[in-house]
Amino acid sequence: METVKINDITPGDLPWKLRYDASRCTLCGSCVAACSFRAIEAKVERRRMIFSEGDLPDPRARFSAVPVIKQVNSLKNYCRGCGICEKVCPNDAISPVRNPDTRHPIVTRCAGGDSIKRGGRKNITGSPRTLDQLRVGRISQMTDPSLDAQRHTFDMLAPFGRTLPAEELPLKLGSDGTLISSGQTPPVSWIYPVIIGDMSIGALSWRMWEGVAMAVAYLNEECGLPVRMCSGEGGVPSRLLKSRYMKYMILQVASGHFGWNRILKAMPDMVEDPAGVLIKIGQGAKPGDGGLLQAQKVAEHIMAIRGVPKTDLLSPPNHQGLYSIEESVQKMFLSFNAAFKFRVPVSIKVAASSTSVSVFNNLVRDPYNIVGGFFLDGIDGGTAAAHEVSLDHTGHPIVSKLRDCYLAAVSQGRQGQIPLWAAGGLGKTGDLAADAFKMMCLGANGVFTGKLILQMAGCIGNDQGRCNACNTGLCPAGITSQIPALAYRLDPERVAENIVNYFLAMDQELKKLMAPIGNSSLPIGRSDALVAMDKAVADRLQVQYVC
């Protein structure tokens, strides 16, 4: 008899256990080959069988060695519940089962002495989502007819860039009684109100990134939807930098400045300006934390694009040398504005926080009018690698904070001067149109989304702890992996097709929401169109409470 070793890791300690039916298994090996985490392996079990062959009972024992598939008892190669084994099994012999008794959060810390890291999404779900407590409750009938989503035209564009108050516009009256321009205004582009959020070409596999970029080009050129994509911090392939598709890209600069070398070098050869520059100060999924690309994901092409060796790539939590908001405005914004000769809107992304309104107020009052967008990122989103404790316990929900910023602008008569873009768990239920619409009613000019794009591509992760292994470089869907064998699981054309179709569906759904409230342009700030079924939510967001 074996002694009990209480601290040995067994499947009971891990978040997922495998259901395996040896009687159905043909030992084809597909599951073992497909599991990118090496969480299962082929093993041989010793079996004892009692049998009797004669007319009278004559029990004998026979021992045999039987090949089976077994779960690996390891904190490194543990099962993520991704279900790829189940997908490839021809006989339904194996599938992961969630283990409610997991000791994983404890044993991992005890064994490693290091914080737990994982792919970014919050996995603690508490109260129901605020956005689900809101409905579009002001329906046009009788006096103001609703519109027809199919028949009427809708103007569904959102501003990206700094807007001046009317009295500061450089317009003067010409001799023929029309207004003529007498100076320059900050650049503003009107784009689709959903930006594909900033996911870098190191975080994503090159095939995934290519698929997204293809979708964006197709949406612009074939579907007439001016959707923009933000590069994330990590550079852009030179070929794209010098192509005409650059105009659909918002370039991101973050505290690591990864990839900017190459961007700066490509500038003389650029044939189109980028759609904008987004300076990332913080992100909602792990506020106060910098970027993290673990060495296992720093493949050769990533080293080239970013100009770095193979090592853990950390963007510091802060922009070095950034001392104050005023300074950030003057230094960073001026230099990036100047880099593209004031033709390209420069915007800022911060993590939603108790202090967001003061940051926003400072920017909205900046006398240089050079902050072209305030991207506010709340919890519940995120695709990047992060510490579990940050993902699960830091950050601020987006809904009330976005509303606070909008109302702060309203109280100063400055609404719309710095467009507000919101993100953080939007589209979590799969329905981005509804979430985006409600956020616009609360004051957002538009929204940005990342995680949902991965899900469109085929990510099987979820908010209940399934997969979330984006940081490992072993993405079973080939979305966040730089390993060719995994990346090739993903078909970029299929990714593009899925994204395009989702956007087309969402576009129709947005119209379906605009029509009943009788609006042909986006309902920015139309909180009167919303009702809340929760009193606290209603009071906090200043919308009508209904029951």
């Binding site: 103001d144 519109l147 317009l171 309203v410 609404q415 009788g518 609006n519």
Partner: protein
Amino acid sequence: MCRIGAIKSKNYTHPSKALLLMQSQQKGHDNSGFAMVMQDLGGIFEGYKHLPTLSMACTDEGLNLAENILHEAGFRRVLQWVPETFPSDELDIIAMPNYVFQTFSYPKSCKNASQEEKEELLLDMRLKMRAVLEPEDQGYVYSFWPDVVTLKEIGDPRDIGTFFNLWEPNKNFTAKVITAQCRQNTNYDIVRYAAHPFFLQGYTGLANGENTFYQKNKEMQSNLHRGYIGFESDSQCFLYSLHYVHRQLKWPLKYFKHVITPLPFTELNNRDDAEQLMVIRQSLANLEINGPNTIIGVLPDNTMFTCCDAKKLRPVVVGRTEDTVAIASEVCGINEILPDRDWATDIYPNEREVVVINEELEIARWKQ
């Protein structure tokens, strides 16, 4: 539902015409009130065109308070007209004790004041009177402006006409420009201030419709000018935007249309003036309107215009004779007061035009 109407004439016209214009459209409104603004006044006011006239409905105490405010500021009354009223239990009207139409001379301190300074003073005085009378419901100050009188009442328009004896034409109480509307704000609380036409510093606005961008407009306008107050009706927003674009920004009238119903981006980008229209649309996105609307407006120089929402969801028609132009929500109103006109020349404005009537009664149709 609202119905709106307006008359602009070369001759001084009695308000009975406006009542007739509205009366025939009565199936479309709900007979809950009558309100009108008269500009370019004839009759007893004709000799006082350059001096401000106070139009107010109030209690005795309210009258005292208002007069004291004006006297303290140095205004002196030069003309007073108290309309003769004919109260009767049969009439559907919720009358106020006093209807005040008084013309004042400017304070001595204004002797060298510019036109602009006087205009600011008149607005300040009206806002002050309104603020003092409002808390205890002692009265409603509708306008305090040269060559303008305003009347607003709750009740059946026919009975209101009878009460003020407005059905009987006479030469004492006339104007060349009259805008009228026959409905209280029955969607919400009945407040006298909520009845259009609304008036601010020479600008008059009235509308038939529902402004579904009311909240956006209101949130924006509240910070734009001290005169943009009340917001008892979503239609006030049209007047404030008109005042802001034309008076504060000093942009020509056509830009009002570009502000409230901007061209779709696809059309806008193809125009020669795309650059200007784009920055206007960007900066004044919060003054855009949505929902079904027809607007009638009058500018300080008595130019009258009408325009519609971007989808033409509300009707309006303009008819004319040699000496009179009438605008109404329904053509039956115009048939009533201009029966002999050539109806073939009636104009049904489309969603992208502004119909403008100038002092010579020339009608221009501006394409946006």
